[in-house]
Amino acid sequence: MKYIGKSIKRKIDPRLLRGNGRYIGDIKIEGTLSAAFLRSPHAHARIQSIDLEQARRLPGVIAVFGPDDGGELPSLPFLFPYPSLIPITQQPLNSTIHHVGEPIAMVIASSRYIAEDALDLIKVDYQKLPAVAHLEDAVRPDSPLAHEHLQSNQAAQFQQSIGDAEAAMKNAAVVVKQRFKIGRVSCLPIETRGMLAIWNNHKSEPTLEVYATTQSQHEMRRILAESLNLSEHQVRVIAPDVGGAFGAKAPFYVEDLLVAWASMKVEAPVRWLEDRMEHMMSSVHEREQIHEASLGVTEDGKIIALTDSILANTGAYVPWGIIVPIITSTLIPGPYKVPNYLCDVRVLYTNTVPLAPFRGAGRPQAALILNRLLDEAAFQLGMDPMEIKRKNLIQHHEFPYNSGLISRDGRPQIYDSGNYQKLFDVVKKEGEYDRWIQLKEEYRKQGRNIGIGTAFSIESTAFGSYEGATVRVEYTGEVTIFTGASNQGQGHETSLAQVAAEVLSVPIERITLREGDTGTFPYGTGTFASRIATIVGTAIYKAAQGVKERALKIAAHKLSSPVDSLELSEGFVQLKGDSKTRISLGQLAHEARGIFPGTTFDLPVAPGLEVTDYFAPQGAAITSMADMAVVEVDPETFKIKVLNYAGVHDCGTILNPMIVTGQTLGGISNGIGNALYEEVVYDSDGQLLTSTLMDYIVPTANEMPECNLHHIETPSPLNPLGIKGTGESGSIPVLAVIQSAVQDALRDHGIRVENIPVKPSYLKEQFRKQEAAAFAEGKI
């Protein structure tokens, strides 16, 4: 391969490095007004009265909309139905509030400064209602109700099972039980959300043009059209440069509807840029779950049975259904053979920001459970924690492997391919596992708390339903690719172009990829679930194959040579091995469009050197990883330092190793944040305690260890190039490896580590509890 698999530098970089990016806030359109939202300070309340008049009178204010106006808009659509789910979606500018930060009024003004001044002039009388925020509170029978009209806070309840776990557990030589309490995090892209909506009512057909920070512009077009009574043809959604997303920009939000609607109301372009505090209190969160899990193993460490009871918070609404807990429950067995499994899941409504997929989407929680239980079982059995994991891995010859569970698409969950033994071998060697075991003992003798953590995990990637691509050869010989994807920093313009370059043998610098615009490609699903390289990459591969076929046929006709005597080479079709007899792709594109108006088209192909094709995968491609971390816990301050981090990841065929490694490193950084520092905290009344980056701690370069990363390639049989997704996989094993390592470091102290994030204050509390228990027992 000449292009696929090469670390080709990114085409977009010089523009971004010069400061010439074009993010939502950078787009200048004359006459653009600013929107700002008044947000609820209460978690659950009813608006008794609201006075918008003073705000309306402020010079520079164009319009103010409140709960009375919101009534003319529909609730947000309900996505991802599930049989047991009672779906509640958000109503724009609702007079009843269900979480702190929910918008209750919107100001449109000539500048953001004035719009925010006007917010201060809005007077609201609230009737506070009882609120619930914490999972432990939400399940209590006497809990306040997050939504008054419901009988309980339960949004959904379901089970996943393989075999008969409860019966099998009785036969286990060793049973270990552990509680896992996983905290809530913010997706936190550095560019917050935003939208610039331009309603143009002066054309023969009015149009709504929207620039949005979105991961799924086609979905946004559909929802805007349906909600605003427009046809999809009247709405164009463009995702320009988007400054990171990580899940936060996948759902459709009330602000998206309100800003577009406001543009129609005031008949002017309207821009809204979320500030960081708004992001913390209105953009989706993730991760928060509580697990009570048990694992039964044989005397030699083989898994017999696994049970888990999960409480999952979904916040006040279900913007993306309940796919996060569904994914967690189906992926807890992960890369291990689990003959008997029972998982009971309860999803709870609370008066907090809704939860929806963040990078990893339910999988980091899943990877935590069984890896940590295996650690504990190994400890009970006196086994090496890596060895017990190796012993239970699915073997190379067992693929495709049916886990026995039903995937989120309603079909059997089948792992397409993998080589988990190789993951084990490489991480053990490259992570220098044996050396660290020795070092750990030496350091411990010096009184240092050093621990090693390991985890094997998988990512179900590249879910459907489909994506498409148009590959077009221009007259100049340049190749243009249009896709339905959008880009938030993943480097599509380079890695996806590599696919077309490979098929068409065209220098990569002559290929331009255009994406993120419903006006240039009609259909698409979105950039989430680590799906673009696989699904769009394959659509481009298929479309480029079509273009190649056409080019060869036209050239055969022009050169009077059989098709199989021809080849593509560096932008030309030539006789095989003879670069003197050749026609450029540009010339062939010219021929393919007909030479003169009125002439009869005489080529043996359809006109145009352009092909559109789609790819709909038959199942998820399963990416796998093995990670290892070494940590040190300071005995005085309980500060946790990651001394070493090694990972081996297998995402099948790699399009661009530099980009894949970059994605993995980014995922690990998100994971370290999640494991050690980041936590969105509400008090029990639903008041948000972490609304700024002063309280919500994000890792900097100082907190990140040097990572030693390796890749192996086990191609997926589900697509012609063998690609699997990788965008999220870095984040998935990190909770498990870090908690595992901290537990290992403190094992001799008798401390049990159950929480994520693992914070110094949490460890200190564990020590205090242990001392209190020892004192009560008369041991000290």
Binding site: I12, Y23, T692
Partner: protein
């Protein structure tokens, strides 16, 4: 912006002098982006943590979201648009960021470039540990930082080999055409 209570200020941005009238409360980040059209400076948190809006003001890095435009009166500002050379070639730091894949979405990148530029002036031969410390005032959610550390390390080497680097770093000598 209402027209009352405006202050006249003069700022030199990337070597070019601008005179303008701004409200005293207008942030320097907004002055640069909205009044001067220099949108390379990005705003990520507006409370001084993320570092995306970092610019050089009188040869010191500042968070432009924590500085009022009026405070920049008579100051010399360098933004990311002024970092590359007048002929359009990239600054060694920009080259190194591209070479080492030190950016993904690119939103935090201008702030990192400015911070790193100043850091390398203060410490031209840093260790990796020192680089991590030096860029720890900027948050990135995409890259995991390792490649950014690699890029700053590479830029340090490029700049130390480059004899004209002393004048090529963060002080713009002449009027800069980029971005205005």
């Amino acid at each position: 912006m209402t027209q009352n209570n405006l202050n006249n200020i003069t700022v030199t941005v990337n070597g070019k002098e601008h005179s303008l009238s701004v409200e005293p409360r207008m942030l320097l980040s907004d002055v640069l982006r909205d009044e001067l059209g220099l949108t390379g400076t990005h705003v990520g948190c507006e409370h001084g943590i993320c570092g995306a809006c970092t610019v050089m003001m009188d040869e010191r890095p500042v968070r432009s979201c924590l500085v009022f435009g009026v405070q920049a009166n008579q100051a010399k500002i360098l933004t990311v648009e002024g970092l590359s050379n007048a002929d359009g070639t990239l600054h060694p730091l920009q080259e190194a960021f591209r070479e080492k894949h030190g950016l993904q979405c690119g939103f935090c990148t201008p702030g990192f470039l400015i911070s790193a530029c100043h850091f390398l002036e203060e410490n031209p031969h840093p260790s990796r540990e020192e680089i991590r410390e030096g860029i720890s005032g900027n948050l990135c959610r995409c890259t995991g930082y390792q490649n950014i550390v690699d890029a700053v390390e590479m830029a340090a080497e490029m700049l130390s080999k480059d004899k004209i680097s002393e004048t090529d770093q963060c002080t713009v000598q002449a009027e800069h055409p980029a971005g205005i």
